[in-house]
């Protein structure tokens, strides 16, 4: 069960944002529900971005066959904009981490930092299976 108000891992995302030129961070379940968000972003916006990231990941994954038969295992999606980036990476079983940054961010450093964060999140993420409707977390 995804706990909508329990932002237990939010501090880990806040820590990661100490890196220069990063903006926001969210952690989401593969089915598009928010698991944690940085303090830089409201809950309402984070909910919407979580949903969008799950759709983005699903679409990105579906493009693997465009690479030919041998490719599998989506690892990350990077969106580049005039002025910024969005990084979406796998964060353990059934979870994704999304971080945004300005266009002045050090790409290599950010990649490294994200992997580091994913490792640490992985230790915290023992996500229990979701319960049916009406159950309490």
């Amino acid at each position: 069960m995804t706990e909508p108000t329990n932002n237990r891992l939010g501090w880990m995302l806040d820590n990661a944002l100490q890196m220069p030129e990063t903006l926001h961070a969210i952690l989401l379940s593969a089915d598009g529900l928010l698991m944690a968000h940085s303090q830089t972003i409201t809950r309402d916006d984070a909910d919407r971005h979580a949903a969008a990231m799950s759709g983005l990941q699903a679409l990105a994954r579906s493009t693997a066959e465009f690479c030919g038969g041998a490719i599998s295992g989506w690892q990350q999606t990077v969106n580049e904009f005039a002025g910024g980036y969005v990084f979406l990476v796998a964060a353990g079983p059934g979870a994704y981490l999304a971080v945004s940054a300005t266009d002045r961010v050090d790409m290599e450093a950010v990649s490294f930092r994200l992997q580091e964060l994913v490792q640490r999140l992985g230790k915290e993420l023992t996500s229990p299976p979701r319960q049916g409707i009406g159950s309490r977390a």
Partner: protein, 199 residues
């Protein structure tokens, strides 16, 4: 039902414990994006694109005026029903070419609301079939389009080949109150079912 939009997540109070993911599905142009937009208490997620001539022969616009865009990925909105229940509404595209994405979006959903149009009821079968394949419980809401024929409920049930327990409601996707009732009918249907574990 509060209609103000929140910016600080005030509707998701600390006591809220249960997040329920629901699908809003239906064939092309049945009103899914309208429905999610009407109900969402936060700014909805939209992935609309202008329809091209390439799709003209594929996506049938007969009887739909003023529609120039179509959803290419998904819709999303959030509705806090009460202190215990927050509904996360995921709208999936209706056209067949998006079937894989549709299945991905369905992951983790507890149930679906199928929007239908009485002028093209037969186009709903595909979607109800997919839901049955995924073993997702659903309710059907007939979206009340201007000038669309109205049928008595037994006739509609027969035309849609619904099980006796499947809820059938009429709504106007542009209207908040009637759309909320459609969702509540789905939620009550889900609550009546035995609790199922979701992995």
């Amino acid at each position: 039902m509060a209609s103000a939009r929140s910016s600080e997540g005030i509707y998701v109070r600390a006591t809220v414990r249960t997040a329920v993911k629901l699908l809003v599905v239906g064939h092309f142009a049945v009103g899914k994006t309208t429905f999610v937009g009407t109900l969402s208490e936060i700014r909805p997620l939209r992935t609309e694109e202008t329809m091209t001539q390439a799709a003209e022969h594929v996506d049938d616009l007969a009887g739909i005026q003023g529609k120039s865009t179509t959803t290419v990925a998904m819709d999303f909105g959030r509705l806090t029903l009460n202190d215990q229940l927050v509904l996360y509404l995921f709208g999936a595209p209706g056209q067949h070419r998006f079937k894989q994405l549709w299945k991905d979006i369905a992951t983790g959903a507890l149930g679906a609301l199928v929007l239908a149009d009485t002028r093209r009821l037969e186009e709903s079968f595909d979607i109800m079939g997919l839901l049955e394949e995924l073993e997702l419980p659903y309710a059907v809401a007939v979206n009340d389009f201007d000038g669309a024929p109205r049928f008595p409920e037994p006739e509609l049930r027969e035309a849609l080949d619904l099980l006796p327990e499947t809820p059938l409601i009429t709504c106007d996707a542009r209207d908040r109150v009637s759309s909320t009732h459609a969702l509540i009918a789905l939620v009550e249907h889900l609550l009546r079912r035995p609790v199922r574990e979701y992995a």
